[in-house]
């Protein structure tokens, strides 16, 4: 590459260079191929299906009928609301928790850090099937249930954990907060290690204290990480359905019915695959709107 070209590039705004185009597409070639075949094709197929009454041998085009049915369903809106409540509580709390724990782990020596990371990573490792069985025991509503016995130690009355409207959602939230932070902590620690010591040294010369360093150095430097965890966390949380499926069946009174559970049921138990696709597209629109908002709030230009 010639020097003049680079200088030109530095001056001009978004101009594309032949070399960059070639190497850019070279770098993403395999990724894009895999993406198009195994992700984009199924997504497009789902979009088409959302306009059909789907049958494996002879689907019928029905226009927006599935969308109208979905939007006119009270439970659809209730499940969106439930999912939103769940997300708004779980995601920020879990990010704050992961960030704080990551911050607390870094002052130790390497070997101590390893031990803590290992410990905090463990809950994520253990298999989903076995762990959900354990959680059902923990939340057992009889006075002999583990959590109820803990409450009894403090003199509190037994709770009907997963079966009461008051505590069902709370139970799912506690479960999510206690079992899903391992990966986030590891990612945050990686980000923290990426911050060069010279920044802190410079800040210390200016007399900055611990919380000022967090405020003015750590938080801004971790912003891309936070944005990533926030966006993917929200996407994941909006699609969650295993917890409601395994733990509560959506009840009581549909207080834990998540949109993911509705989509699952429509596709796999009621034989309404077209409707399930329409609900999924509507869900994707909600998530897309929230994602755009997050990019805006986190101050990153949406050049995408």
């Amino acid at each position: 590459m010639k020097k003049q070209e680079i200088q030109k590039k530095n001056l001009s705004k978004p101009r594309y260079h032949m070399a960059d185009n070639i190497s850019g597409w070279g770098f993403i070639g395999v990724a894009v191929a895999v993406f198009v075949i195994f992700t984009l094709y199924p997504v497009i197929s789902a979009v088409i299906t959302s306009f059909q009454e789907y049958k494996p041998f002879g689907s019928e085009f029905v226009g927006f009928e599935n969308y109208i049915t979905a939007l006119g369903n009270d439970l659809f809106w209730k499940s969106i609301k439930n999912t939103l409540v769940y997300t708004v509580v779980v995601i920020p709390l879990s990010l704050i928790l992961s960030f704080s724990i990551a911050i607390m782990i870094v002052p130790f020596t390497k070997s101590v850090q390893s031990v803590f990371k290992g410990i905090y990573y463990l809950p994520g490792i253990a298999s989903g099937v076995a762990i959900s069985v354990v959680w059902l025991w923990l939340y057992d509503a009889s006075p002999n249930g583990i959590f109820n016995r803990v409450l009894a130690l403090f003199g509190a009355t037994s709770q009907n954990w997963l079966s009461s409207s008051k505590t069902a959602m709370l139970s799912l939230i506690i479960m999510a907060l206690l079992s899903s932070h391992g990966a986030n902590i590891i990612i945050y620690i990686a980000a923290l290690h990426g911050i060069d010591n010279t920044y802190y040294e410079a800040a210390e010369m200016d007399g900055a204290k611990f919380f000022q360093k967090i405020r003015y150095i750590v938080l801004p430097m971790c912003r891309p990480t936070t944005l990533f965890l926030l966006v993917t966390g929200v996407i994941g949380s909006f699609q969650v359905f295993m917890n409601a499926y395994m733990m509560t069946g959506g009840g009581p009174d549909n207080n834990t019915t998540m949109i993911g559970l509705l989509i699952f049921n429509n596709a796999f138990t009621y034989g309404k695959y077209g409707l399930a696709c329409a609900q999924a597209i509507l869900l994707a629109i909600v998530i897309a709107a929230l994602t755009t908002l997050q990019f805006k709030l986190m101050g990153e230009d949406i050049e995408y």
């Binding site: 590459m1 680079i6 260079h17 070399a19 960059d20 190497s23 850019g24 597409w25 770098f27 993403i28 395999v30 990724a31 894009v32 895999v34 993406f35 195994f38 199924p42 789902a46 299906t49 724990i101 607390m104 870094v106 002052p107 390497k110 390893s114 290992g118 990573y121 490792i125 253990a126 298999s127 099937v129 076995a130 069985v133 923990l138 057992d140 249930g145 206690l178 932070h181 990612i187 990686a190 923290l192 290690h193 990426g194 911050i195 210390e204 750590v218 891309p224 990480t225 990533f228 966006v231 993917t232 996407i235 699609q239 989509i263 695959y273 696709c277 994707a284 998530i287 994602t291 995408y304």
Partner: protein, 288 residues
């Protein structure tokens, strides 16, 4: 290293020790809470190898034995093959992601090529469609068009380069100063050389984080392997574990034993990559 975040209290070491002890106490206390389900699982893996509708409310089984481990291994001729299958699938999924998602993430953050914004937008958007509705067309593709039932490619290919990892790599590479890359270009480096000589050494941390998280996800995936395998010898460990549940009860302890055995490879990987987690970006390299 991030040590500079904390004051070293060089003038008064006792404050330093007291502070670290307090943090340690808090970390241990919180860890104890979040580890509780795992401890429970571990303890009951030494319980009796019988089919039970439920177990008692004790945290520990009445009698400890290795019966459930034996039962897990002898439950099917393929119990250990399941773990082996999972290792193969997870390993290739990790390699695919680290290489291809890593490269793509770099391109999306540091190379200005035509179509980059649009493409990244589409990739992000695709994450937002729940898998429940995309698995049917994906199944048609893999089984009907590619005839891949009961093969490793069927288990590996769909997850070989995920949008999640591309996004993660992109976010991290953004933190590497562009000036570093520009100066390398001036010295006549091609993008591939830049990636190999400059970016890779700087991103051991992030790539190992990606590796461990991808391995974990692949390891814990249940439904897709369940869909595309019909022979016991091709099951992954998660699919296998589900066969311990019957209509009116489960082999609970053997299931827990299987879950505990399946944690071991994860742990080995985790601690072998620890070194890279802690290395971080070497001081001075990024100053540019």
């Amino acid at each position: 290293m991030a040590t500079g975040l904390y004051s070293q209290h060089l003038h008064n070491r006792s404050i330093f020790y007291i502070r670290n002890s307090l943090i340690a106490v808090f970390l241990i206390a919180f860890a104890a809470v979040s580890l509780f389900p795992i401890v429970y699982m571990f303890a009951w893996s030494f319980g009796p190898a019988i089919e039970s509708a439920s177990t008692s409310y004790n945290i520990f089984p009445g009698r400890w034995s290795l019966d459930s481990y034996k039962a897990f291994i002898s439950f099917s001729n393929y119990s250990l093959k399941w773990i082996w299958n999972s290792i193969i699938v997870a390993t290739f999924t990790v390699l695919g992601n680290v290489i291809f998602a890593g490269m793509a993430g770099y391109a999306f953050s540091k190379i200005k090529f035509r179509g980059r914004s649009f493409l990244f937008f589409v990739i992000l958007l695709s994450m937002m469609i729940p898998y429940q509705v995309t698995q049917v067309p994906l199944y048609i593709l893999i089984v009907k068009n590619f005839h891949m039932t009961n093969t490793y490619p069927a288990l590996i290919l769909p997850g070989m380069c995920t949008a999640y990892n591309i996004f993660m790599a992109k976010q991290f590479f953004q933190g590497i100063p562009t000036a570093l890359i520009e100066s390398a270009k001036i010295e006549g480096c091609s993008q591939l050389m830049i990636f190999n000589k400059i970016i890779l050494p700087l991103s051991k941390t992030i790539l190992s984080v990606m590796a461990i998280n991808t391995f974990l996800n692949s390891w814990n995936t249940f439904f897709w392997p369940f869909l595309v395998t019909s022979k016991e010898e091709m099951y992954t460990i998660q699919v296998g574990l589900k066969t311990f549940k019957f209509a009116n009860g489960s082999l609970l302890s053997p299931m827990m034993a299987g879950a505990c055995i399946s944690v071991i490879p994860m742990f080995v990987l985790f601690f072998s990559l620890q070194k890279y987690f802690l290395e971080g970006v070497t001081v001075g390299a990024v100053k540019g």
